[in-house]
């Protein structure tokens, strides 16, 4: 290998300097244009952080740390404590993850390990279809069809768990309604399944055939092969995929805004109404004419931006680690 001189294939070989000196203006112009287009990504991200931070200083300075993290959002008295919305974002996306991840990983395993290649294509089309249905259409279906239907089921569950210690705190209560944290979680689970499925499928596809064949040669069943050969290899990548899904769930706006019920409360009751950061921005920004109200909503946007950037950075770190391991194996 070392005997072969490695030329960079993307630049002309030979006396590159001489060629560079005679590079025509159009050529250099195109290179500059491409660079500017690439830099645009960084510029937009920095501008988002800067512009939203600048607009939200009013909120940060008047409310203060304890004010921001209190459960007290009342525009009439100019109190903008966002803890209820932070809580709603975390709870609804956690429910979405808990429901969505087993389904997504199940489908990813089905596609890669069970179904033959030519049959996996129609399944992939169906999952893609799920991803193309707009958020607002899920919200429309959620508020008109799903919420009334779930309301009955929730009421039955609530009366069934009445008095049972932990279950009553989670699924019971006397304010159970169709629009709730849990309904938002169900809609989020549906919406993040395509992305988690496709990312985990990519990771699982990199498991070397020799590992899988080795497991079969030792007499493993397919499930034992998945546990012993596929899982250790793709664990980190699947965690990364789940985190990307979590980021999507936290930022999902319109569908959640329509089904979560829009109320500012921190409660253990999952069948109660709530709100997420994204949903409250969408629902209240139109009526936010006062300076501090608007500043608080933009500040919430900055929170959401920081939160999703953080989650995605960690997700990338996991994916990177898993692909490094795949190359090393």
């Amino acid at each position: 290998m070392s005997a072969v001189t490695k030329a960079d294939p993307t630049t002309p070989a030979g006396s590159a300097n001489a060629l560079n000196q005679r590079r025509p203006l159009g050529d250099r112009g195109f290179a500059l244009l491409a660079l500017v287009a690439g830099l645009l990504v960084l510029v937009i991200l920095v501008l988002i952080a800067f512009a939203t931070a600048q607009q939200s200083t009013t909120w940060f300075s008047t409310a203060g740390f304890s004010g921001i993290f209190s459960v007290n959002w009342d525009e009439a008295s100019n109190a903008f404590g966002a803890m209820g919305y932070l809580y709603g974002t975390v709870i609804s996306s956690l429910i979405g993850i808990i429901i969505g991840v087993p389904i997504s990983v199940g489908i990813a395993l089905l596609l890669t390990q069970v179904v033959p290649r030519r049959w996996s294509r129609p399944i992939v089309y169906v999952i893609d279809l799920l991803a193309v249905v707009p958020s607002v259409v899920w919200g429309l279906w959620g508020i008109i069809v799903l919420v009334p239907w779930l309301q009955n089921i929730y009421l039955h569950i609530a009366s069934a768990v009445n008095g049972i210690p932990v279950l009553d705190a989670l699924f019971g209560g006397n304010a159970v309604g169709g629009a709730s944290f849990f309904t938002a979680g169900i809609i989020l689970a549906i919406m993040i399944t395509p992305i988690i499925t496709s990312l985990s499928r990519e990771v699982i596809d990199t498991v070397p055939a020799i590992d899988k064949e080795g497991a079969y040669a030792l007499g493993a069943t397919r499930w034992e092969m998945i546990r012993g050969a596929v899982w250790p290899h793709s664990q980190a990548g699947v965690v990364g995929a789940v985190l990307v899904g979590l980021g999507r769930a936290m930022g999902e706006t319109i569908a959640v805004a329509l089904v979560i019920g829009d109320s500012d409360q921190v409660t253990s009751h999952l069948f109660y109404t709530g709100a997420s950061i994204a949903s409250v921005i969408a629902l209240q920004f139109g009526e936010a004419t006062g300076g501090e109200f608007r500043s608080a909503l933009i500040g919430l946007g900055l929170f959401l931006f920081a939160l999703t950037i953080l989650v995605n950075l960690v997700a990338r770190w996991f994916v990177e680690r898993s692909s490094r391991r795949a190359r090393g194996a």
Partner: protein, 300 residues
Amino acid sequence: MMAHASKSLTQAVDLREPSGWRRSKNQIMTVLMWLAFVIILIPLGFALAEVVSKGAGVISWQFLTNHTIPPNVMPVGFGGMGAAVVGTLEITGFASLMAIPLGVLGAVYLNEYGGKGILARLISFMSDVMVGVPSIVMGLFIYVIWVAHFGYTGLAGSFALACLMLPIVIRSSYEMLRLVPDSLRQGSYALGASKARVTLTVVIPAAIGGIVSGALLAVARAAGETAPLLFTVLTVEQTNSNLFSGPNTSLSLQIFANAQSAYTGANARAWGAALTLIAITFILMIVARIITARFTRFSR
């Protein structure tokens, strides 16, 4: 019973078949994997059936061209989605005009110019992260830097959608450019072509199928977005064909407004708009699939 037999060394072990419990576990897990697929089919099937059955009765030529009305008590037959159809098409169209060329250029930088340099790696990494930025943040961002100074216009909505599409187009085009074999580039360099010429006339045409289908999927996603348009285009009743001045509206905004209404007439208009929007996004997706199948020359 079988499990006991396989543990005992004195008895013959059947190597062809795993023991009862192991086999049942395997079967249970396979059934669960299929079940996962069936579970996700249920909401998809129900939602699509609902949109088609409730939307089909509402849609007519009149519905697609009439001016929009606020979500009110008016029964089906009054009002339509004309302004919203025009708004969706022009806002998404102009966003695509901005985001697709810039996205492809960005991908060209990453694959053809940046190489393994630190800047290219950073841009590649950050465009991945940017795909995950919630669309409502894009809307807020454009509100702060544009709408607050120049007012609500369709153009502002296009800017927000373009911010959303840019990283998606960069990622998908980059993946496609990476598949173009180096021998093509080397052959063109050997003929004395400049780098810009090689990229524009050899590399991009070789990957055009994948680039176009990736771009169409980004357009489909942008066309269905609501959150970035909420505080950038506002809403309007009469068709506003001028993208650059005055508020506008879109199908997604109309669905959002009418879905929250308690009136059945407004809800029916929301279903009609939903069917129209889904038809637009599905057509884009099917075209993307056909292009991928037909024109992808270098695929994995």
